[in-house]
């Protein structure tokens, strides 16, 4: 479909989708906040995963031709809408909440500034699935390999000083697939719209497993 973009402005890919939808209302895609926070509009733009709302057309299609595809590796519901169930199942497997077996204090569980800093680069994940769906290991074993997004969150809770389930969390990840299927190709790092580094988090989980196992 050809589209003339207004001159003197660099639209975002989501704006292009809106223009296309105005022309053909049957086109389906997800969107919500349009400012890179909700993670709804993760799509594949000229072969690269990203959020349509914060990707300028000039960056996604420097030569003027833009090919939009749904996120690879997940079942397509319609057009650019994918079924994220498998992705969420993997996220659910890593117990994405704080586990603390000590009696709760009167007000809140405190954390030192140093311990809080360890969560930087981890908690910011918006679960857009751009990283996991750019990962060949996730394409091949989406039911067994947790994937970069899930593993980034797994480390977020392993690194949290308020969590007391470290041994159980590590034991759950020790099998040959959940963590160790990562081959370290860093596709996840190159596509993350929040500039996070799941490969580093996976490396830290491996180090924790090694420290515990040896």
């Amino acid at each position: 479909m050809e589209l003339d973009l207004p001159e003197g402005r660099d639209l975002m890919v989501l704006d292009v989708l809106e223009l296309l939808k105005a022309r053909d209302p049957s086109i389906a895609y997800r969107r919500s906040c349009r400012e890179g926070v909700c993670g709804s509009d993760g799509i594949n733009m000229n072969g690269r995963n990203g959020l349509a709302c914060i990707t300028p057309v000039s960056e996604a299609a420097p030569r003027g031709k833009l090919t939009l595809r749904p996120l690879p590796g997940l079942p397509v519901v319609r057009d650019l809408v994918v079924d994220m169930s498998q992705f969420y199942r993997q996220y659910e497997k890593i117990t994405p909440w704080l586990v603390n077996d000590k009696p709760p204090p009167a007000q809140e569980r405190l954390q030192s500034q140093e311990d809080r800093e360890k969560l930087n680069g981890l908690y910011e994940c918006i679960l857009c699935a751009c990283c996991s769906t750019a990962c060949p290991s996730f394409w091949w074993n989406p039911d067994k390999f947790v994937g970069p997004a899930g593993l980034l969150q797994a480390y977020r809770f392993l690194a949290d000083s308020r969590d007391t389930a470290t041994a159980e969390r590590l034991a759950a990840l020790e099998d040959p697939f959940s963590v160790f299927r990562c081959r370290g190709i860093m596709n996840c790092v190159s596509v993350c719209p929040k500039n996070l580094n799941p490969t580093r988090a996976i490396g830290k989980i491996r180090t924790m497993l090694l420290s515990q196992g040896i």
Partner: protein
């Protein structure tokens, strides 16, 4: 409890396989350096020189270690490749049969590749008196 169980991986644990694969790679690297050193420092490499080099008890033990490391390394690698590619998406419901056949072929080949050099090395003294 592990999130995924598998009975055919080498160490039954991702951590064990991860460590064994790296340790065996180091052993194989050292063995390769040792062999390269022999070729670099021996002026006339012939059958007798090779037998003389490999016939010592130290080299026999090192070769045995390297061959066993090769077997472990190969099985962990081939098992990983098989479980990546031989899956239901490509092979349908019977993919576990294909995976079992693939693993048996790999196991047979590795068995031969381990036993053959070991039988050669431990009989070296009998080949050249």
């Amino acid at each position: 409890m592990a999130l995924v169980t598998n009975i055919t991986s080498f160490g039954r644990s991702g951590l064990a396989d991860f460590v064994l694969q790296r340790v065996s790679a180091v052993v194989l690297g050292l063995y390769a350096l040792c062999i390269c050193g022999f070729f670099a420092t021996t002026p006339h490499v012939d059958h007798a020189a090779l037998v003389g080099f490999l016939d010592s008890l130290t080299m026999k033990a090192f070769t045995t270690l390297a061959v066993v490391a090769l077997g472990m390394h190969a099985w962990i690698g081939m098992w990983t490749v098989g479980t990546d590619y031989v899956r239901r998406h490509y092979f349908g419901r019977g993919h576990t049969v294909y995976l079992a056949v693939y693993q048996l072929i790999c196991l047979g080949a590795i068995f031969v590749y381990v036993l053959w050099p070991l039988s050669v090395v431990w009989r070296l003294g009998g080949v050249v008196p």
